[in-house]
């Protein structure tokens, strides 16, 4: 099958959606499919052979922060050329509502289009204003995928229509087979995420730390992720600061080893999560998980059966649960076991097969994807008899 995948975010900036697309593309290539990924990228960044650059993304203020987006005449022309040259059986667009490559592809393509909705942001003002335009573009999507039941619900409420739920994929064995690092073992709590992004919840964990250390003084908190380390420990009494170790940005291998080593993985995120891939990675590595009870997290953790949940932003509850779990090796072993079994459904072998089922379902009754002008849907010019053949 010839598969075209559209990535809305810069390939050179690491992020969940980019990793998802990279793993998905490589999974399909291993199965022998032809895959081409269209992604924004600087012209001088080295790209894997299956990625086609759509030009440099431009930073513009959008939706309350600065987003790097691709739009305008040149990008549209590149999208059209990619569609025309690719002769794809199916095009898979990620994040089609972001005003970037995804939306441009929706405009330009005709034929089987699959779209994955990753975030579950409430509808923005811009989206309400552009609703009619957006709706016309989204109508072309034959199959919608939401990454969680929660993301599906927001999608149904804000845009109407329906979607199938297929979770994000993880290479479970990569994490399950990583070698633990003795430096990171022994009464350790792990946290991975941007330090200076409050929604990742490090401040909640920092507030809980004095209470955890009062009960178990030998505990260490290991933090992997970039951000200002001084600022992160500011709220902590000076004598406790030595119990926090910052590892900075870690490689994929180190992340797996990190998750294999820690005695407890804590995800205190306060919001803005639509899936929670890190929890799946932690469970794959066999780390007992303690997470805030966000909708998305509760779903990934099977409503608390595969990992423990605490009330969002409640650092006392977090501290109590952490102390209890650290002092109860049997409960942790139980969580490890349940997590490892539960996580199989998120393995690429399952997730990839499901996504392929979606492709095959939508291509069953139709022809291949074409750039709209040369497809069978008549363009404006064709409708007035002006099309040139």
């Amino acid at each position: 099958m010839r598969i075209g995948i559209v990535c809305p975010y810069s390939w050179d900036v690491p992020g969940g959606v980019q990793f998802h697309i990279r793993d998905l593309a490589e999974y399909f290539i291993r199965l022998g499919h032809e895959v081409s990924v269209l992604a924004p990228a600087d012209d001088d960044t080295p790209l894997p052979p299956y990625v086609v650059s759509a030009g440099r993304a431009v930073p513009v203020p959008y939706n309350g922060s600065v987003a790097r987006l691709n739009f305008g005449f040149l990008s549209a022309a590149r999208v059209r050329r990619w569609l025309h040259d690719g002769h794809f059986d199916v095009v898979h667009i990620h994040e089609p509502t972001s005003p970037s490559l995804g939306l441009l592809t929706c405009w330009a393509a005709s034929g089987p289009i699959v779209a994955t909705f990753h975030t579950s942001n409430p509808r923005s003002k811009a989206m309400i204003a552009a609703y009619a335009i957006l709706q016309a573009a989204l109508e072309k999507i034959s199959a919608r995928i939401a990454v969680s039941e929660y993301a599906r619900r927001t999608l149904v409420e804000h845009l109407g229509g329906d979607a199938v739920v297929i979770p994000n994929g993880v290479d479970v064995d990569f994490f399950a087979k990583a070698e633990p690092n003795p430096d990171w073992q022994g009464d350790t709590i792990g946290f991975i995420g941007r330090i200076d992004e409050p929604r990742k919840g490090l401040p909640v964990l920092m507030r809980a730390l004095p209470r955890i250390l009062a009960a178990r003084p030998q505990t260490r908190l290991l933090v992997a992720g970039r951000g200002d380390e001084e600022e992160a420990v500011e709220s902590l009494p000076a004598e406790l600061r030595s119990r926090v170790e910052f590892l900075g940005m870690v490689s994929d291998e180190d992340k797996a080893r990190f998750l294999r080593s820690v005695d407890l993985y804590v995800a205190p995120n306060t919001g803005g999560e639509s899936f929670g891939i890190i929890l799946v990675e932690a469970m794959s590595a066999g780390a007992p998980v303690l997470a805030s009870d966000l909708d998305a997290f509760a779903q990934v953790l099977d409503q608390g059966a595969a990992g423990e949940l605490f009330p969002n932003e409640d650092s006392d509850a977090l501290a109590d649960a952490a102390v209890r779990l650290l002092g109860d090796p049997e409960r942790r072993a139980e969580l490890r076991e349940r997590g490892s079994a539960h996580v199989r459904r998120f393995d690429w072998s399952t997730v990839g097969a499901d996504i392929l089922s979606v492709y095959e379902t939508v291509t069953d009754g139709t022809t291949a994807v074409a750039a709209a002008e040369d497809g069978r849907a008549p363009g404006l010019r064709a409708r007035f008899g002006l099309a040139r053949d």
Binding site: S142, A143, G161, A341, T361
Partner: protein, 180 residues
Amino acid sequence: MTATLIWIFVALVAIGLYLSWTAGRLDRLHTRIDAARAALDAQLLRRASVAQELATSGVLDPAASIVLYEAAHAARQAEEEQREVAESELSQALRAVFAEHAQVEVVREVPGGEAATHELTEAVRRVPMARRFHNDAVGAARRLREHRKVRWFRLAGHAPVPSSFEMDDEPPAALADRTG
């Protein structure tokens, strides 16, 4: 005077273009529904065929074979109006037969059983998918058709109002389990 006429002309052309664009949108949606319906039909047929094959293979006990054969046969032969009911009954029959993991294991062990189980698992997973995509397209078309501009200018032409396909498509527990 001429200026007013020109403006009226420009406005009329703009409205015409807009209506033509909307008609194109509607046309595209109807094409999408046709494709989705064809895909759904294919999946339903595939499911009924695999079920019927299993029922006649002699792998299942006689009672289960009869129940499954009846339901699969009825689903394949059903008239358009009874289709939703017949397909729902096939779902129920499949759930009744494959309620236990043990039953799936029995089928797996016979020669060719692995392939048959795989086909059935695929089929019961794809039917809900195809149905959701179909109903999503139908919903989008209906929302657009309810719009004033579409009704007043009869942009939908003679195309019948599309209807969604409602059925019970819950897969059997033993086949839907993804932890294995």
